[in-house]
Symmetry: C2
Amino acid sequence: MTNPSVDDILAGLRRGDRAVLARAITLVESTRPEHRRLAEAIVEQCLPAPSSTFRLGISGVPGVGKSTFIDELGVRLIGMDRRVAVLAIDPSSDISGGSILGDKTRMPRLAGESNAFIRPSPSAGRLGAVAHRTREAIFLCEAAGFDFIIVETVGAGQSETAVHSMVDCFLLLALAGAGDELQGIKRGIMEMADVVVITKADGHNEAAAEEARGQLVHALRILPVSKSAWKPRVLTTSALTGKGFDKVIETIEAYERHVHARGYFEERRRDQQRFWLRETIERYLFEWIYGTSPASGELRELESKVVTGATSVPEAAADFLSKYLPGSIQSEDLERPD
Amino acid sequence: MTNPSVDDILAGLRRGDRAVLARAITLVESTRPEHRRLAEAIVEQCLPAPSSTFRLGISGVPGVGKSTFIDELGVRLIGMDRRVAVLAIDPSSDISGGSILGDKTRMPRLAGESNAFIRPSPSAGRLGAVAHRTREAIFLCEAAGFDFIIVETVGAGQSETAVHSMVDCFLLLALAGAGDELQGIKRGIMEMADVVVITKADGHNEAAAEEARGQLVHALRILPVSKSAWKPRVLTTSALTGKGFDKVIETIEAYERHVHARGYFEERRRDQQRFWLRETIERYLFEWIYGTSPASGELRELESKVVTGATSVPEAAADFLSKYLPGSIQSEDLERPD
């Protein structure tokens, strides 16, 4: 298969062609140098991203019902004339190489909509690289006219931080009846949430969901007010009965109005740019030390010496750094990196 | 408070003084330059680490009963004349700065033993930095005569990978009755497990635990044989009745014998050294780009330009890299970093 030209792909994106979009994302995810050059040229042409789009991060523990929630939410958004793209970041595919999120069969109704685009998580790779590709995929989706981007994730902190750095609003799904420990662990994530939705609020679960809602409202009150000055809201939904989804959409709209009115939307988009720059540089640094550069060759030699006991790890690290990053380690008042 | 000398601390460690050990770990976790120099000197003196110790990683989802499991296991190990240290890596403390793991009150019996040492997870920081400190804490514990080190974590992949890179054996706790999705997500972690223990196998849960055990045994059979040639085993325990813990200890002992006999123990320790070197260098790279170096100053300037729209992220990244890491980005056949 010959590669399409940058112009072909851009033209396809501009007419909202989902097959071309899928292909462009494949280029972004590819590790082949020629794909990489094409991908960079395409992404450059898609910048700056329009500020008329909205990027919603959604996270929640396994079993919370993310797929059904996104399916229902997405279909409703499409009914409101939005074009919805669903992307995913799945850190657990790190080792297995597999990917569980974003599977189209998990969102059957949304998958059938012509104004929806669903893309599974890029497979294996460091979280940083996966996040980077997802970020580029956002730009491509927006260039293709998708104006409501959902980035889905699951994890215990790191992946949520990555998603938080690329969205305008962060929605956390939670289940009633989760133990104390669960809530403790999710505290760091709770602090990122603009909206918390307690799912499966139906049948004998409904009372528990309402009680959990009350507790969460109370708990969120003690968190410091965020930079956006938006107070996190707690809602309940049932994917079974559809109850609560009107309120979810109202809340997202209220959030959109709030952050646009206060200029916070633009501020957060600027933060996203900053994160993107850092991510890009970090990725090249990793390539530099673990790839094919002279520095990476030296690192491999030091690794052999460490393994045979010819030198210790602290000595080897000091050797490498004083040679390749002079000044990075010798400074007397260097703070221990965090 | 004046800082103790390296010799004072080393002498304290060598006589197994837990207060000195706690203080040495505090130095390792400190970000102050003078603490950092002390910490590095101390850790250097604790190397090479003795190969007569055993490092066990334990992971499991919230609610699986990690604390009670470790409490029971630890007390039994002490009854077998081992000295047990419990360390933790908690990636979710990333944002909140809090730490939930390793709390002594969660392991009341073990906390009361004179041959036990329990340390909470180092607070806030990138996973890499937290992992690095935990790795150094392992060496300190071993220098203080603790010969069975438990490193506890919870997460969805990244933190387990970090823990896996610093232990001799990886034990995964699981609950019966977890949904299909949970098992899919944990697949990457499952592949790291040398031993899987299904907890809370008592009362009306016992049959479900046994059935889950059978299913897991079956599922693990299809995984490729690991480098150690050890076949992962699946056990059940009840912290309520104590049932199954004899078998857990037998299995860990069998694993120890197996990996020592095949030379895999030393191989894995060498891998741990390699990871440690990489971790160290990565931490300094992060300090270099985000700290006080000229490069970090330039990066901050580029960030401002990106934010004001004076340049795009890909352009800014290329500028930075061609200046500070010449050769890292210009090569025509550079692979896209992973």
